[in-house]
């Protein structure tokens, strides 16, 4: 990802319905999962216990499903910065299959809706899909925000 200062702001005008973004490649490294566990305080053993993962026929420990809250946003901001003042209005997740530690996910975002509401606020809804390298769907996210400018 480019340095923040080199990236333009992503404005409402850049977000027509149907717009897609360059796919995000996210490596689910043990370090990323460890930092997530520490920041969130979520230490579920399936995120790090290889023996437990094997016991449940998993090829490796799984990524915390909540990681989708991070990569969903990054998927449309790789080449942009977010203008200040935006508000996350609503978000929905569906987890189709666990991602595993060591995998690289490909995350694609598309603008589903962008419109001015009855109060003149700029509303944007993204639809985001995360897939593993085999193309298997891991998660879908629907994210709605009030855009600042």
């Amino acid at each position: 990802m480019k340095n923040e200062k080199d990236r333009p702001e992503l404005t409402f005008a850049d977000l027509p319905p149907g717009r897609t973004f360059r796919p995000l490649e996210l490596a689910v490294t043990p370090e990323l999962v460890q930092e997530y566990m520490e920041v969130v305080g979520d230490h579920h053993p399936l995120y790090f216990d290889e023996n437990l993962a094997r016991k449940y026929s998993l090829p490796a420990p799984i990524a915390p499903p909540g990681l989708a809250a991070i990569y969903a946003r990054l998927s449309y901001l790789q080449d942009y910065t977010m203008p200040s003042g935006g508000v996350l209005a609503k978000q929905e997740f569906e987890f189709h299959a666990p991602a595993h530690v060591g995998e690289i996910l490909e995350v694609k975002a598309q603008v589903k809706e962008s419109y001015l509401d009855e109060k003149g606020r700029k509303r944007v809804t993204f639809f985001i899909e995360g897939r593993n390298k085999e193309g298997k769907l891991v998660s879908t996210v629907r994210l709605s925000a009030i855009w600042p400018k």
């Binding site: 990802m1 923040e4 930092e35 997530y36 520490e38 920041v39 969130v40 305080g41 979520d42 579920h44 053993p45 399936l46 437990l52 449940y56 799984i62 915390p64 499903p65 909540g66 809250a69 991070i70 969903a72 946003r73 990054l74 901001l77 977010m82 200040s84 003042g85 935006g86 508000v87 996350l88 209005a89 609503k90 978000q91 929905e92 997740f93 569906e94 987890f95 189709h96 299959a97 666990p98």
Partner: protein, 159 residues
């Protein structure tokens, strides 16, 4: 940065390590507590790449309608996910749905929040139990900051 030390004993039933052994309508999910401070918000900013000044710059944030920094919304989503993982394990990671999540009030440094869930409905569908939970995050004043619905899927043989 510290969290309430709730002790969870993870179950070891076939297929799904999770806390709830038998699920029925009206069950409360095991509560999770978090202390929110600026350090945690900073670390989330580093983890997520979200350096919006409203979250990390107290001087700037004081001049906004929020009158101070607030936690990132997606951090609350991570907390909801934590509760569902603790409660349902792979029954969450395989097919879980977090729906209609709305952010109704900001979470601020100094807040102590509780992440709660209540089993509202259980339906048998395609040989699985579809467990619908009403979810909320509340601050130390009892005010809801986030509301939503979580749906987990448990295999029938877990009963």
């Amino acid at each position: 940065m510290r969290d309430a030390q709730y002790k969870f004993k993870f179950g070891r039933k076939k297929g799904v390590p999770f806390v709830l052994k038998k699920v029925k309508v009206g069950d409360l999910l095991p509560q999770v507590g978090k202390d929110i401070d600026q350090e945690r918000i900073w670390r989330w900013a580093n983890l997520s790449g979200d350096y919006n000044r409203l979250h990390i710059d107290p001087e700037y944030a004081r001049q906004t309608p929020f009158k101070g920094t607030i936690a990132h919304g997606p951090m609350s989503l991570a907390f909801l996910n934590e509760l569902m993982m603790k409660s349902f394990g792979l029954g969450w990671a395989r097919g879980g749905q977090l729906l209609e999540v709305r952010f109704v009030a900001p979470t601020r440094p100094g807040d102590h929040i509780r992440i709660e869930g209540l089993v509202k409905e259980i339906e048998i569908k395609d040989g699985q139990k579809r467990v619908v939970c009403e979810m909320a995050i509340k601050n130390q004043h009892g005010e809801k900051t986030v509301v939503g619905q979580g749906i987990a899927f448990l295999p029938m043989e877990e009963e």
